[in-house]
Symmetry: C2
């Protein structure tokens, strides 16, 4: 989807809704939109995502993870605009200027729009810095960060009396993660690709209301809605495999419009209903951490409790070099 | 996998088996081979493919489709060398010089090595030329060709008293077809990706003994075995989507060695066991053509019988332009 520059070389497009001049091409929907109808179209996609997966119910209180990036800022605006009860949570990882800028953007928005916001720090929650945790963890940075974020989203939701944990994951995030899972047939991870996971013992419901909209569409919506957001990439995110898969899908999308949508939405509609046995097995094998009660695939303590213990026991152990 | 040129700039590799000088790199097996041990390794992969899927049994008579390309020529040599009873079938599609050269290569090999060979022509089997069939068909050329080939492989096998139909499809063929099926979740096609399909009423067993070896490995083996084969691409094969997927997987393989193997073999080992319901459904919904008895997803006559009838009824109808 490109913004038309309205030069002589760009053919004049008409909005698929009002037939007025359209500045936004949406090849994956075989459509073009004026600014107003693009925003309507985007909101309709989010509404459809929410309704099709029964994400929210009467009386729900939502904890939304906000990083300060375009996706979570857009989700924050849209869910609040729908009249839902949204409590935002920002987790500061302590990644230097990147984290400072992110917290600043999130706090500024909360203050300006008078939105409830909780801010926590990685160190405050885990007792050690991200660097220290990374040194004692066998995981790559993105995996460690994701695990810790998911864990604290759930714990904070329970603590604040929220019934749902929402995140800004979009179609590109889910399709690229699915591609990675599928290329290696990590069938145990397929369940995590669901845009709505029901609540369970000690676990709130988990939802991804942006799962039908792309990176580019969300960036465009954020711009049209005048939302400030952090454009910088996380300093740890270089050479990450999911970025490779995102790039791959982006190039394929140019060749075959809507292949991302066909791939991810087709997975939900066509593969999952056929995946009965294997799928139930993964769910069935989940255990509870004896320390905190969090759902885990491991025997004994969950990853986060193990990590906290190990990091606390060896705060200065330089067994893994920090990245340059 | 590259052939070392043994110049000063190429580091000297050692064969993973005999530790002698190795000219062949095999990153997907984290190995290097001398010519002799590469051939042994390749044969072991084919043997393992055959045994793991129980492809051949005592008393089997095999009909092998031979196009004249590297894959079928290699399969012809290896299966015959294993002492199996192999009858080759070449189908001449009438694609001008490409088809003439292919038939010539196949006939020359059969004569030189004294191997049984049947040659049929598209026109002789279908009553019309490929061009004429294409004009009345709604399918792209590769889909039409594949359907007709699979149909006549089975019919000819039954006619000649063969119990198995074998083809030279390799890991690249299967992985790229699977990628296409998976990106669009064509779950009904997943069954066709199996390297061995059991016999059924009116259907012989179908096997793909090269499913564990790549395009490049097979080309190398053909060269080392001194086999003549047709290098030219089929004139209809330009801009074909499966070529796009092959290229994509090839580029990924350079980034992540053995991703093709992990993807296709993981599908067999990890996804398929979990795919019970959907998988059985596709199999269950198969019908029989009332005209010829061939297995079909359609109600009424199968694709080939329908095509023959339509092509015969409108032999000169120019409703679809032939390719330039």
């Amino acid at each position: 989807m490109d913004r038309c520059e309205r030069t002589g070389r760009t053919p004049v497009m008409k909005c698929s809704v009002c037939r007025g001049p359209a500045g936004i091409r949406a090849p994956r929907h075989n459509a073009a939109f004026c600014d107003l109808h693009f925003r309507e179209h985007f909101l309709r996609q989010v509404q459809r995502a929410i309704e099709s997966r029964d994400m929210f119910r009467e009386g729900d209180s939502i904890l939304l993870g906000v990083s300060g990036g375009k996706d979570s800022m857009v989700a924050w605006e849209i869910l609040t605009g729908m009249g839902l009860e949204v409590q935002a949570l920002h987790l500061n990882h302590g990644f230097g200027p990147y984290s400072e800028r992110s917290e600043e953007v999130v706090r500024a928005h909360a203050a300006r729009a008078a939105r409830p916001l909780e801010v926590r720090s990685f160190r405050g929650l885990m007792g050690v810095t991200f660097e220290q945790a990374l040194r004692v963890s066998a995981r790559p940075a993105c995996s460690l960060c994701g695990t810790v974020k998911r864990y604290w989203m759930n714990r904070t939701a329970l603590e604040l009396g929220c019934t749902v944990a929402a995140t800004g994951h979009n179609l590109d995030d889910e399709a690229s993660a699915l591609l990675g899972n599928v290329l290696h047939w990590q069938t145990g991870y397929l369940r995590s690709r669901l845009p709505a996971l029901p609540e369970g013992e000690g676990m709130v419901r988990k939802v991804k209301p942006l799962f039908r909209v792309t990176d580019e569409e969300t960036r465009l919506y954020a711009g049209l809605a005048g939302l400030e957001f952090v454009e910088d990439a996380c300093p740890y995110a270089e050479n990450v495999t999911t970025h490779y898969y995102k790039g791959l899908l982006e190039r394929m999308e140019r060749e075959f419009p809507n292949i991302k949508g066909a791939f991810y939405l087709g997975f939900l509609d066509r593969l999952l209903p056929g995946l009965s046995a294997e799928f139930r097995r993964a769910e069935h094998e989940m255990r509870r951490c004896p320390e905190c009660g969090y759902r885990t695939l491991r025997e004994g303590r969950c990853t986060v409790c193990t990590l906290k213990e190990r990091a606390a026991g060896s705060p200065g152990k330089p067994d893994r070099a920090p990245p340059a």
